[in-house]
């Protein structure tokens, strides 16, 4: 798709008038999606999509438009010409934008990963084999993901990855299941088999009679996937400059008061070791790392180009949403192999579900345990736990009650695919937490 995007960018130049400038970003993918239920295929198909977004700028006035591209220049030429015409007409009715900022001197570049994906049909057969005699449900998504940026100032950036993400569960009965992810860039049958065997071992424990605990406070271990979801929730307004300046950040009590997270907690937007593109829609490049939390306190914010203009702080290549895309929580010193012994008696939470705010200014979240969550006694898994609701502030679970982070971390490739397959990722340890509050 890179060649086609370059042709599109070349085509836009001659459409400009006078002192007009364009910036142009591109998103595209060719993805196979195969959905499974009861170890059989539920839906199977392929999606090919290409979208271009253009910001047509003259001085401080501008208008933005997005359109799908067919991939055929003769078809797309009049579509693009029409879009530019419409944007020019709209711009006449809009005032100057004091917060407009786009890249004028960022370097061009590209990051293109090699295509080492398996044949989709072969991967599907591997998954069906893994499900034999079991109840497997989930999705295999695979293919190329592409992003581009171009401007009339000559900047060109391109990104391609070829990845797969198999996100599946083995079900025991009703809501008792083991959730597993196997994602990457080259399908390794042996590695996949190990994942399947690990999940099958946990599945066997789900056959034990489940335990129901009373609401109260418990020592828990949050797996890397559970902590990824919790940090993801905190990322909704937690690290963006706009949310901080408009007092809508859930970390309000850190910036207006003296609340702090655990002094050993460090959170970074780690673009260098993530999977997401290193540039954003206005052409700015992301630095390798932005430290968001250091020593348990807020350090830097993610700053979009608009926030940069609005608040007079240099942008660090954040998207308009100012959300991390490559979140990194620093490792601790608890060996993963020692987690159950250190947990001793409490709850092993492998997955959390449906997080939301109970009290946003207090950074208090609620959510539920899900999938393989176990009651542990004397350092041994004793029984699956029936679903429980938790309600806890970040200042407790990642602050005063954080008992340790694991020394090993998991690299999690986000399986979400709303509108397009995600390139977000996380490098996350597990967390031991004391007095974690369960409410229902």
């Amino acid at each position: 798709m890179q060649g086609y995007f370059n042709e599109v960018a070349e085509l836009l130049g001659p459409l400009l008038r006078g002192s007009e400038v364009f910036t142009c970003s591109f998103q595209g993918e060719e993805s196979d999606f195969v959905r499974f239920n009861k170890s059989e295929v539920r839906q199977a198909g392929t999606v090919t999509q290409r979208t271009v977004s253009i910001d047509l700028i003259e001085g401080r006035r501008h208008a933005t438009g997005t359109a799908t591209l067919s991939g055929d220049l003769e078809t797309d030429r009049p579509r693009l010409a029409g879009l530019v015409r419409d944007l020019r007409a709209q711009r006449e009715h809009l005032p100057e934008d004091p917060h407009l900022l786009y890249a004028t001197d960022a370097p061009s570049g590209e990051r293109i990963m090699e295509n080492r994906l398996p044949d989709g049909a072969a991967a599907v057969e591997d998954v069906r084999r893994a499900g034999r005699g079991r109840d497997l449900v989930g999705i295999y998504a695979a293919g190329g993901i592409h992003a581009g940026f171009a401007s009339s100032l000559g900047q060109r950036n391109w990104y391609t990855n070829y990845s797969y993400n198999l996100d599946w569960s083995f079900y025991h009965d009703r809501d008792k299941a083991v959730k597993t992810g196997y994602a990457g860039f080259a399908w390794d049958e042996a590695a996949f088999r190990r994942k399947v065997e690990g999940a099958a071992e946990e599945l066997a424990v789900l056959a034990h009679p489940p335990k129901t605990v009373a609401p109260g406070r418990y020592r828990v271990y949050l797996s890397p996937r559970a902590l990824y979801d919790i940090v993801g929730m905190l990322s909704s307004g937690g690290f963006g400059l706009k949310a901080h300046r408009t007092k809508q950040t859930p970390f309000l009590r850190m910036i207006e008061g003296d609340e702090r997270l655990h002094p050993r907690l460090t959170v970074t937007e780690n673009t260098a070791e993530g999977v997401a593109p290193g540039f954003q829609e206005a052409g700015f490049l992301r630095p390798d790392r932005v430290t968001l939390i250091e020593g348990g306190a807020i350090r830097d914010c993610l700053v979009s180009p608009r926030s940069s203009r609005e608040y007079g702080v240099a942008t660090n290549g954040a998207t308009a949403e100012e959300m991390p895309l490559s979140i990194d929580v620093a490792a601790g010193d608890v060996p993963s192999a020692d987690v159950l012994r250190r947990l001793d008696t409490g709850i092993l939470i492998n997955n959390v579900w449906y997080l939301n705010w109970s009290d946003r200014p207090a950074c208090r979240t609620t959510g539920l345990t899900r999938f393989a969550t176990f009651w542990v006694e004397g350092g041994r898994i004793r029984a699956p736990l029936n679903v429980m609701r938790f309600d806890e502030t970040a200042y407790r679970m990642l602050g005063e009650r954080l008992a340790g982070l694991t020394a090993e971390r998991e690299m999690i490739l986000d399986p979400s695919s709303y509108f397009a397959r995600s390139t977000a990722s996380g490098r996350i340890p597990g967390a031991l937490v004391d007095e974690f509050t369960l409410t229902l």
């Binding site: 993805s31 999606f33 195969v34 239920n37 295929v41 839906q43 199977a44 198909g45 392929t46 999606v47 090919t48 999509q49 290409r50 979208t51 501008h62 208008a63 933005t64 438009g65 997005t66 359109a67 591209l69 991939g71 055929d72 078809t75 879009l83 709209q90 009715h93 809009l94 934008d97 917060h99 049909a121 599907v124 999705i139 996100d167 079900y171 009703r174 809501d175 299941a177 408009t246 007092k247 809508q248 207006e256 008061g257 579900w353 449906y354 939301n356 705010w357 109970s358 009290d359 200014p361 208090r364 609620t366 539920l368 899900r370 679903v387 609701r389 979400s416 695919s417 709303y418 409410t439």
Partner: protein, 477 residues
């Protein structure tokens, strides 16, 4: 366009047992003014088609934004490949599922088209309303916005069937954020719960230009208010909270694909099982819930679902008894149950699955004052701000923007951070009174997420206010 597409489809469709082309063209325009600064106006035009092919027991799809004969031919071949590769390996035997005989048209009635008002006038309207939200130095963020959508869809079958639909939607929004020290409170009008079909007449119907002072005033009121009290008490919910209560604890649990297990890896399963339909007491006898695509201004009204099944009003819960699932033609065949026309896709690039569309609580017989009197003492809550429910759709917790105490049957002081929690299977049995038509509102949200690959669709919920007894209510940290 439809004639051109039909010609190309006939040329490109693979030889197969059954083949459809679903074309979607969606145009979105979003305008907003934040802190009196006009935000970048954005227009998005999304256009593409999905070809679905049946071969023996299998069904495959391929979606493309290349609508040329060659582009459709490639998609058709790919869809056929998937159908053939997965035939006999599927959880559904498509030989046993009759595709709906798709034929007909539907169009949103529009009295004041979006284009009847110029861009400059729309921006001026939003500037005025935005300016009226900044009433105090403690208002730290404020915004007024309009989101207009037009969707044109064609469903063509290789046998000559055609469904043509054109939907027009508007989502208005006002937001005021007040902050002082360590607390911040937001108040919205709309808040992405006021989506409707129609044109600019919607703004008159909802009195868009009368709401800014109330929104700003209540944000400031909340900042000064005490936390919502904790305890078990009567709970009166306004329609803009009922929308989420219906959505999460009735709508999702009765989706047939969840009950059949398709969603267990992502959106979850359901506490509802197939054997409950026709006998299970879901709520008190005041509970009457309908799948109703016939209210023209409601957000998810349509004539046909995305598989081409004609849509009509059906009771899902009648006099408290669960009578019918939300399930389209494929799920109905799998489950052996009658359902609803609700196989829906977010756009051309995702396959249809069972979704809510319009799911409504039918009005009861109580005026708002009568609901307050019946509550006696308790809390009244407006405007959803937080929602969370377990994967079986049982243990829920909701938060609202705005609460007021009810004392001796009369509305009292404002309280902030009102939350409540409960269990679906018992909560609806504590439904004590349902508001009449004077309390009924037609609402909708653009953001209902589900499915693998993930899909977000628009859903409508029309509902009166409703009163519940003995609910676990609580406030902030």
């Amino acid at each position: 366009m439809i004639e051109t597409l039909r010609r190309r489809f006939e040329e490109a469709a693979p030889r197969a047992d059954h083949c459809t082309l679903r074309y979607v063209r969606e145009r979105n325009e979003r305008l907003s003014v934040r802190q009196d600064v006009v935000q970048p106006a954005s227009t998005a035009l999304d256009e593409g088609a999905m070809i679905a092919v049946r071969a023996g027991a299998g069904l495959g799809y391929a979606a493309t934004c290349d609508l040329s004969v060659e582009g459709l031919r490639r998609a058709g071949r790919r869809a056929l490949e998937w159908a053939e590769r997965t035939a006999g390996k599927g959880v559904v035997d498509f030989r046993k599922v009759s595709p709906p005989a798709a034929d007909g048209e539907y169009e949103t009635p529009v009295r004041k088209p979006w284009a009847s008002m110029g861009l400059r006038d729309k921006v001026d309207l939003l500037r005025r309303e935005c300016g009226r939200l900044k009433t105090d130095p403690k208002i730290v963020d404020w915004e007024a916005g309009l989101w207009h959508t037009e969707v044109e869809t064609f469903l063509l079958t290789a046998g000559g069937g055609t469904v043509r639909q054109r939907l027009v939607m508007l989502v208005p929004n006002l937001t005021a954020v007040a902050s002082d020290g360590k607390d911040t409170q937001s108040r919205t009008f709309g808040g992405f719960l006021l989506g409707r079909q129609g044109g600019l007449e919607t703004l008159d119907e909802i009195r868009f230009t009368e709401e800014a002072p109330r929104v700003a005033g209540q944000a400031l009121e909340l900042l000064a208010a005490p936390d919502c009290p904790s305890g078990r008490m009567s709970l009166l919910l306004a329609p803009d909270q009922m929308i989420l209560q219906i959505h999460e604890s009735i709508g999702h649990p009765v989706e047939l694909d969840r009950i059949l297990g398709d969603e267990r890896n992502y959106a979850g399963t359901s506490f509802v099982t197939l054997d409950m339909f026709g006998t299970y007491r879901y709520g008190s006898e005041l509970l009457n819930v309908t799948f109703d695509p016939t209210i023209p201004e409601q957000f998810a009204s349509y004539g046909f679902d995305d598989d081409g099944l004609p849509a009509r009003k059906e009771f899902v819960i009648q006099d408290g008894i669960l009578v019918r699932p939300l399930g389209g033609s494929v799920s109905q065949a799998r489950a052996g149950l009658e359902g609803t026309a609700n196989a829906r896709a977010t756009s051309w690039n995702r396959p249809p699955i069972d979704r809510m569309a319009n799911l409504n609580l039918e009005p009861g017989g109580s005026t708002f004052d009568a609901l307050l009197r019946a509550a006696g003492n308790g809390v009244y809550m407006e405007s959803n701000s937080s929602w969370s429910i377990d994967d079986s759709r049982n243990k829920f917790q909701f938060g609202c923007e705005y609460g007021r105490l009810i004392k001796d049957g009369v509305l009292g002081a404002v309280v902030k951070k009102p939350n409540y929690r409960g269990v679906s299977a018992t909560f609806w049995r504590n439904l004590k009174a349902v508001g009449d038509r004077s309390t009924f509102q037609v609402l909708g949200t653009p953001y209902c997420g589900k499915g693998e690959p993930n899909q977000v669709v628009r859903v409508g919920h029309a509902t009166p206010a409703a009163l519940f007894a003995d609910v676990d209510v609580f406030g902030g940290a």
